[in-house]
Every structure is written in structure tokens, then in C-alpha cells.
């Protein structure tokens, strides 16, 4: 029978994860496995647990998970491992003992530094900026924020982070928060959104406020959602990895585990058409973050 691979996003309608799924579908087809893709409709750690338990019940062979909350999901994942199910984490890690590998799209440090450097370049290394995050709870957002702040303290003394506002992963909320931020901080030079709905939200706010060019927008986001704003000159650049590749790699890694082709301690891994990836410890590295801008954004469709 076909192997069954179950893949869990943080929120299953989110365009980001849907683009991961596109890559995963491709990998599943190439490998001839059945792919299940289920997760909470809105980010919710408790629901992730229940779905993992359902998968254990069904007896899937591989679970690939983007953990909403490390500790929360790990109990369930350990239970899965006990039943002989192979577990990989992607996008956001679980506790190390609850999965075999983490498919690391980019180190938090890499993302944080890239974003901060890009922001500093756009502002000429001085002035006020603000951050829009998904929720104040999400672990990876906190990580990135930490590295952004570290880079700021280390290299850009003339720049000032004036506020961090949550957007609940909602574009509308990001937009209203950005509007409020701009009027509360008239000297604001840049908005940095570190969740994918946040970037178009901030861009829309800047556009509505008629501050195109005066307040710049950068962030972590999907090319498709931001193309329009990038071409209008509202958003300067979007930083991201190739999400399709992330999904693709996660599935390949999971299946390889199940087939015993990938074992702990390996230092490299070959994933189908994408070639070979480096493994650092138990992290499979996807590579460096990518900067999308006016020049290259039209070459991507996800």
C-alpha cells in the first residue's frame, strides 16, 4: 500500500502554507505517497494536538508539522513516535526529542539580520521604524524579533524601534495598526511586517495615508500578495524563502525517514529535483532567505 504522509500547517487556509502545500503535493506525486493536509482553521495549539491524535488513530506513516507551540504539540508527537510514526518539523520547530529532523527554511538569525540590514539600507541607517508581528504569542515571530533587535543594537545605533504591534495574522488588523502607528509617530520612516498578511496590510495603510515613499514598507511575505504594492512602489522588498521548496523538502525528508534512507547523524540529504541540502545537527537547511523586489518578483508565482 501507499505510504501515508500527513502534513500540518499552523493555519490551513493561510496562503503561505498553501504554497508550502503546492510543493508538498509535487513531492508526494513524485514519491507516490498519499498526502493528508489538515490543521486548525485559525492558529490554535490545542487543535493541532487533536489532529495529530487523529492521525495516530488512522495509522499514518509520516507526520510533518509546523508547530504553533513547541511544548504544546510535543506530547502528541512523542506519542506518534512511540507508535512508529516518523515525525519531521518544518517552518516552526517542535521540541528536539519529539521529531527526528527540522526542515529549517532559514535560521532565525539569517532572517532577522537580513530584514534589519535591508531596513537599514532603505532608511540610510537612521530614523524610526516599527514592527508588525502576527501575534505576540507565536514563537518564531519572537525569535525573529529577537534577532532583529540584536542586529539593531549591534550595527545601527541611529535607528530606533518605536513600537511592536500584533496583527493577529489578519490583513485588516495589520492595516489599522499601521495607520495608527503612522499617525502616532509622525517621524516614522519604515514599517517592517514579519508575518505574511502584515506586509500587504501595512502597504495598504501607507497607500491610503498618501505616504508612499515617505514611509517605506518591507517584510516577510509572499510574492503574489505583494506584487501590486511592489510595482506601485509602496513596498520596497519582501524577504522570504521559497515556500514551495520548503514543503517539497519536508515531504522528501519525511518519506526518506520512513524508508530508512535518512538516519540521524546524516550530514547531507538529496531531495529529488532540488538536489542536495546540508544538514546541521538535526536541522535540514533550506538555504539563505531570498529578497524579492521590483526587479525579480514577477518571476515567482506563489
Amino acid at each position: 500500500a501507499k505510504l501515508i504522509v500527513a502534513m500540518m500547517p499552523k493555519a490551513k487556509g493561510n496562503a503561505y502554507f498553501l504554497s508550502c502545500k503546492a510543493g508538498a503535493d509535487k513531492a508526494a506525486k513524485e514519491l507516490g505517497v498519499e498526502l493528508l493536509f489538515d490543521g486548525p482553521t485559525d492558529s490554535n495549539a490545542a487543535k493541532q494536538n487533536e489532529i495529530v491524535e487523529n492521525w495516530i488513530t488512522l495509522g499514518v506513516d509520516v507526520i510533518a508539522v509546523a508547530a504553533e507551540n513547541k511544548e504544546g504539540i510535543s506530547t502528541a508527537l512523542r506519542k506518534a513516535q512511540k507508535q512508529g510514526i516518523k515525525v519531521v518539523a518544518y517552518d516552526a520547530d517542535a521540541l528536539p526529542d519529539a521529531r527526528s529532523f527540522f526542515v529549517n527554511q532559514a535560521t532565525p538569525q539569517g532572517i532577522g539580520y537580513t530584514l534589519m540590514d535591508e531596513a537599514a539600507r532603505l532608511c540610510g541607517e537612521e530614523g524610526e521604524f516599527a514592527i508588525i508581528t502576527a501575534s505576540l504569542t507565536a514563537a518564531n515571530q519572537r525569535e525573529w524579533q529577537k534577532h532583529i533587535e540584536a542586529r539593531l543594537a549591534e550595527k545601527y545605533p541611529k535607528m530606533k524601534l518605536v513600537a511592536v504591534r500584533p496583527s493577529d495574522d489578519l490583513k485588516d488588523k495589520a492595516q489599522s495598526e499601521s495607520t495608527a502607528l503612522m499617525s502616532a509617530n509622525p517621524n516614522l520612516k519604515l514599517l517592517m511586517a514579519i508575518c505574511s498578511p502584515g506586509v500587504p496590510g501595512a502597504a495598504e495603510a501607507v497607500k491610503q495615508a498618501g505616504k508612499i515613499g515617505k514611509v517605506k514598507v518591507i517584510g516577510l511575505g509572499l510574492p503574489n500578495e505583494n506584487k501590486r504594492y511592489v510595482h506601485e512602489g509602496v513596498t520596497d522588498s519582501v524577504v522570504l524563502w521559497n515556500t514551495g521548496d520548503l514543503g517539497y523538502l519536508a515531504i522528501y525528508a519525511g518519506v526518506a525517514l520512513a524508508k530508512d534512507e535518512l538516519k540521524p547523524g546524516a550530514t547531507s540529504f538529496k531531495a529529488g529535483a532540488l538536489g542536495t541540502f546540508e544538514i546541521k545537527g538535526d536541522n535540514i537547511m533550506l538555504g539563505k532567505p531570498f529578497i524579492f523586489n521590483k526587479a525579480n518578483i514577477d518571476q515567482f508565482d506563489f
Partner: protein
């Protein structure tokens, strides 16, 4: 006519409803047992028919079950408490903070959390009884307030984890054969049953639900009774928060989001009238069980899992069942009025 032979009119009707519910529950269970159990590729028996799954059902329904138990007397007095889910979240956070940040021992922190639950219930109670405000609106306000406080305390982001195993025992282990929290649930359920059906408290809850003015004229301490009901709800929500924390091993500001709706659904599904006065703890227990089995059972059906929609399906069916139960409850009356009209 012999005076003793007359059946209690509404009570017998409810007995019938509870029997019906019980039959539904058993049928549900058998159905899932048949279709939801299988042997997986590694040769293990998995699905609904395993003891593990049954224990999971118990574990997963404990918190909502506790809230439903607490809400039954509230709804009997013709009140409502929308704030229970938020209060669960707030109490989970308080517990985490007391233990982790204030460095208290687990029992002390748990005790203080229960006190906080009582105080929060007391806030609802005070506003409802002292100012005679409608419970729906008061608890709508505290629904926001409690959740907001939980977020404010944790800045929305702090998650308390690493609880000692002795505490996690409450939520993840077994004691005398059953999951530990199931024992807590049984004890609270029995206590509630005695309170509602065997003491004058329960009697006065009903009287208040039917006619608060009438109860006041009969000399019943209406305000005190209503206050008791809300404070009790606060305490039980705090207890549910402890169990929730122990089950998931973490305390976070979003704990228990939406639980109020599930709890109310279970109570109403269990036959308690939202207008007050009528209802029973037995009904609530059956309602909780029916919903929990449905939810868990659906998730063991391979078809449903392959549709990637276990969660949605059980939500949909719960809502639809509630509508059905409501409609069913009025249909006989409706038919009889239609007939007399003709």
C-alpha cells in the same frame, strides 16, 4: 383519583428526553465502535475501539464537561455565563504565574487559583445581583475583560511550561484505571447532582428560574442563591483551568477559547431549558458525553480523516444536532396547536 398516582408532568417528559439521549449515545458509540476501529499497517489495533481512545474522550471532554456542569445551575436560574471560557484562560495564566514567577508550590498556587476563580465569579455575581443587570450582558463584558487580562498579564506571548510531573499527573496519567481528571469530573458531577436534585439549593434555583419574584415572595434568599451559582461557576472554571494546564502541559492566554459555546451547547442539548427552571444534571452529563463521543468518533472514521475535516465535521454536526434537538422539543406542541387551529 388517587392522589399519589399522578405523574410529575414535566419531569416525566424530561425523563423521556434523557432516555432518548441515552439511546442516542449508545447508538453513536456502537456505530463508531463498528466503523471507527481498524488494524493499521503496523498491525496495531487503532481507532475508536481502543481503550486509549476511550480515555482520550474522557480527557478531552473533562474541561468542557466541568464548565457544562457549572453552567447547568446557572441556566436553571434563567441566567447565563459567557465568561467561563475566558475565565478558564485567565485562571490558567494566573496559575502559571503564581507557580513560575512567584515561585509558589503547586498546591498553594492551585489553591490561590481557585480563590481567584471564586473572586472572578464573584464579580459576575455582584454585578448581576446587586445592580440587577442582565447576566447575558454582564458576562459578555467579563468575557472580554478576563481574556483581556490574561493577554495583558502575559503580554499575549508568555507561555508557562515545564510543570513538574507530579502536576502533569492530573492531566496526562491514570489513577485507579481511569485518567486522573475523570475522577475529578466524576466527583464534581456527583456533587452537582446532589446539589441540584437533592438539596433545597437546587429547589430554589428552579424556583428562581421560573419566577424570581415569586421566589422572593416565598422568602427564598434569591440574591444569595444566584450569587452562589456564579461564584461556584468561577471556582469550577478555575478547576477546569488546572486540568487544562495539566493536560496540555502549558498555560497560555488563549486557553479555553470558545469553550463557553460548547459548554452551553452541551447543557441545552442535555435538555435544560434556556428559559430557566427545567433541566437536570443527568441530562447535562449525557449531553456532554454525546457531543464528546460524536467529536471523537468522527475523528476515527478514516473517511473523515482523509477529508481533512474531522474538526469541521464534528462542529457542523454538533450545531446541527442542537438545532434538531431544539426543533424536536417544540414539534409536538406545534402539531397540537396546528390541529386545534383546524
Amino acid at each position: 383519583m388517587p392522589l399519589n398516582s399522578h405523574p410529575r408532568d414535566w419531569k416525566s417528559a424530561f425523563l423521556r428526553y434523557e432516555t432518548l439521549l441515552f439511546v442516542v449515545l449508545v447508538a453513536e458509540w456502537l456505530l463508531f465502535y463498528h466503523y471507527g476501529t481498524s488494524t493499521n499497517r503496523r498491525g496495531l489495533v487503532v481507532g475508536f475501539g481502543t481503550l486509549d481512545r476511550q480515555f482520550d474522550i474522557l480527557r478531552h471532554s473533562c474541561e468542557i464537561g466541568l464548565l457544562a456542569l457549572a453552567l447547568t445551575p446557572v441556566i436553571l436560574t434563567a441566567g447565563i455565563d459567557l465568561s467561563v471560557g475566558s475565565l478558564l484562560g485567565l485562571c490558567a495564566i494566573l496559575f502559571g504565574k503564581l507557580w513560575h514567577d512567584a515561585g509558589l508550590s503547586i498546591p498553594l498556587a492551585a489553591g490561590l487559583t481557585l480563590v481567584c476563580g471564586a473572586l472572578a465569579g464573584g464579580l459576575n455575581a455582584g454585578l448581576i445581583t446587586q445592580l440587577r443587570l442582565p447576566p447575558l450582558i454582564v458576562t459578555l463584558g467579563t468575557y472580554s475583560l478576563f481574556r483581556g487580562l490574561a493577554e495583558a498579564i502575559t503580554h499575549g506571548s508568555v507561555t508557562y511550561t515545564d510543570f513538574p510531573a507530579s502536576f502533569l499527573f492530573l492531566g496526562q496519567e491514570r489513577w485507579s484505571g481511569l485518567p486522573t481528571q475523570a475522577w475529578v469530573f466524576l466527583v464534581v458531577g456527583l456533587g452537582m447532582w446532589l446539589l441540584v436534585h437533592r438539596t433545597t439549593f437546587g429547589r430554589s434555583f428552579r424556583a428562581i428560574g421560573f419566577s424570581p419574584e415569586g421566589a422572593r415572595y416565598a422568602g427564598l434568599p434569591v440574591e444569595r442563591r444566584v450569587a452562589l451559582v456564579y461564584v461556584l461557576t468561577g471556582v469550577i472554571a478555575a478547576l477546569a483551568a488546572l486540568i487544562y494546564t495539566a493536560r496540555l502541559g502549558q498555560a497560555k492566554a488563549d486557553a479555553g477559547t470558545g469553550y463557553e459555546l460548547f459548554a452551553i451547547t452541551a447543557v441545552v442539548f442535555g435538555g435544560t431549558s434556556i428559559f430557566g427552571g427545567r433541566g437536570s444534571i443527568t441530562g447535562t452529563l449525557l449531553g456532554v458525553a454525546a457531543i464528546a463521543v460524536l467529536k471523537s468518533g468522527l475523528a476515527t472514521l478514516p473517511v473523515v480523516i482523509r477529508m481533512n475535516a474531522a474538526e469541521e465535521m464534528s462542529g457542523l454536526l454538533t450545531g446541527a444536532l442542537l438545532l434538531l434537538a431544539l426543533t424536536g422539543s417544540v414539534l409536538p406542541k406545534l402539531f397540537s396547536t396546528l390541529r386545534t387551529k383546524r
